[in-house]
């Protein structure tokens, strides 16, 4: 089963995946590439087509054209073999409100062909609930749960079957800052143990802190797909903030790449040497350091190009 995935290392691969609703191209010729072991951040504003893409990967929505391969097998054709190995959270968690968290998980487990038996199931459910910080002994109906607890329950449902791939749509929705951190730690730990994670979000910071790869969707088109390290690698520029802009520009001449307010971007490899030089020339330096582009800037640039 894993052979196809192993040969090219792709856990998710789509070719010109397209979904049209009438005239509207909700998802337009998207070529996703997610490799085993990645934490892939799928970025896009609300309504950019993220959720539709996720639904197509899971076989909930049928593509108008194009192909999707998940775990090396075509979706939705191979959903019976593919889906049991995927844990997912699609557009918010859902549970039967009149039942407790563990009853909900028990029912969900029992519906699959890979269901587990009595005691084994209890252990599985208990572990999943503990993993996300819920109390397995809690008998209260889910109706009484807060948004954050529901989100945790949704994650527990995704984790329960020990998936090789997690597809999570906005996993930190409704969580408080501490909860976000807990869940992030949990996901990174799972990733370290070999789980590939595909998470969609509209929060740049979340992606920047967790992901190894990033894909950016805008109006249904994938406008950027890159390794995060490549995007954020040093640019060979040094950012200098100084009140003496003019003197500084005159001094450095050709090596100044750009001036923006009181900040200069200078082509230089060693900020320390540049600093010593400027201070030696009596230029007051407020701030100096290697210039890294923020993900936000990169996304904005990519959006401007399209």
């Amino acid at each position: 089963m894993t052979t196809a995935a192993a040969t090219n290392g792709h856990v998710i691969q789509t070719r010109a995946l397209t979904k049209r609703y009438g005239e509207l191209r909700a998802v337009d010729a998207v070529n996703l590439e997610v490799r085993a072991g990645d934490v892939y951040g799928f970025l896009g504003a609300n309504g950019s087509g993220k959720t539709t893409t996720v639904r197509m990967l899971l076989g909930l929505v049928l593509p108008t054209s194009g192909e999707a391969e998940v775990l090396g097998m075509p979706m939705p054709a191979a959903r019976r073999t593919v889906l049991p190995r995927i844990g997912s959270l699609v557009e918010g968690p859902a549970a039967y409100p009149h039942l407790s968290a563990s009853t909900n998980l028990g029912l969900l487990d029992a519906t699959g062909s890979d269901r587990s038996r009595g005691p084994e199931r209890r252990v599985k459910i208990g572990n999943a609930l503990e993993q996300v910080g819920l109390d397995p002994a809690d008998r209260r109906p889910v109706r009484t749960y807060s948004q954050g607890m529901r989100q945790r329950l949704g994650l527990a449902a995704a984790l329960m079957r020990r998936p090789t791939l997690l597809i999570l749509d906005e996993p930190s929705n409704g969580l408080d800052p501490q909860g976000i951190q807990e869940i992030r730690r949990l996901l990174l730990q799972l990733n370290a143990e070999g789980t590939t994670i595909f998470l969609s979000s509209h929060l740049l910071a979340e992606i920047e802190q967790m992901c190894t790869h990033v894909g950016v969707l805008r109006d249904g088109r994938l406008i950027l797909q890159e390794e995060l390290e490549t995007i954020l690698r040093p640019t060979g520029l040094v950012a200098v903030r100084t009140p003496d802009i003019d003197r500084c520009t005159a001094l450095l001449g050709e090596t100044v790449a750009s001036v923006e307010g009181d900040q200069l971007l200078v082509r230089a490899n060693d900020p320390a040497r540049l600093n010593a030089y400027l201070v030696g020339e009596d230029v007051r330096v407020e701030e100096i350091g290697p210039y890294r582009r923020s993900l936000e800037k990169i996304v904005l640039e990519a959006e401007a190009r399209t």
Binding site: P84, P97, A110
Partner: protein
């Protein structure tokens, strides 16, 4: 999957609330009858009701006759309408489908669950009304039960005829369930699907009272619902029962296939 759906149905307070409603109506009727001793004249009113004052053992059938025209179909419409649309409303549908549960499989499980509900409801109504008939209404003549045609039925005959009647009621309700299930795959609103189904039944009943629609009568879903009464004539009057079965199976097939065709390729984007 079917087992899970059954458990979900049994564990749902709503199921028992509806059954309670179904039991309440015949109970009210039994009390009124026993207090006033005023049965409908023979040949009028709900079937069997005129007979139960002298023979309480017939009350389960009378109770079914009371529930069948209105309450039971509404209950089935509510449950069937909730089947897919309800899961869609709570958002659990997408998690069932990525579990994965096959779509056809899910539809079948839902249909079976509605049948199980009808069975459960009919049995509870029959059991409770049997007790009520025994306690509140007339004692059966020692010679055996009198059929609608005046002859006497042995206990054995009465048993298998009752079983047939139950089967007939269940098949009638199954076609209602199929219609409800179809509407349930069309909309995200469980109430909408239930109302749509009730709308179909009301339309059918209205047309039945309209002579101008006489040509349509044999094809209306509610036309032969009460034909189970004919099973208690001597000899059994099969004509309407058989026609009723054909009509119900027709509705069942058409609407189940329509539900399947619609749901099988539907984009789940709730």
């Amino acid at each position: 999957m079917i087992v899970v759906e059954l458990i979900k149905m049994i564990c749902r307070p709503r199921t028992w609330l509806i059954i309670g409603m179904l039991v309440a109506l015949p109970t009210l009727v039994a009390i009124l009858l026993s207090v006033t001793d005023l049965g409908p004249r023979p040949g009028t009113g709900p079937p069997f009701l005129s007979a139960v004052l002298s023979d309480g053992t017939l009350f389960p059938l009378a109770a079914l006759g009371v529930v069948l025209p209105l309450l039971l179909p509404i209950a089935v419409a509510v449950l069937g309408g909730d089947a897919i649309a309800g899961e869609s409303q709570t958002g659990t549908l997408r998690y069932l489908l990525v579990r994965p549960v096959g779509r056809t499989h899910l539809l079948l499980a839902k249909l079976v669950t509605v049948v199980a509900f009808v069975l459960l409801a009919v049995l509870v109504v029959a059991a409770v009304s049997y007790a009520e008939g025994r306690l509140l209404l007339g004692r059966a003549p020692a010679t055996g039960t009198v059929s609608l045609s005046g002859s006497t039925l042995t206990q054995q005959e009465l048993s298998w005829r009752t079983a047939l009647a139950l089967g007939y009621v269940i098949i009638s309700m199954l076609s209602v369930a199929a219609v409800a299930l179809f509407f349930s795959t069309l909309t995200r609103s469980a109430i909408g699907a239930a109302l749509g189904t009730i709308g179909v039944l009301v339309t059918s009943t209205v047309l039945l009272g309209l002579d101008a629609a006489a040509a349509l009568h044999p094809f209306l879903p509610t036309r032969y619902w009460l034909a189970f009464v004919d099973l208690f004539r001597d000899p059994i009057l099969w004509r309407d029962v058989v026609r009723g079965l054909v009509v119900q199976l027709g509705y069942l097939t058409v609407f189940t296939l329509a539900a399947w065709a619609n749901f099988g390729t539907k984009d789940i984007d709730d």
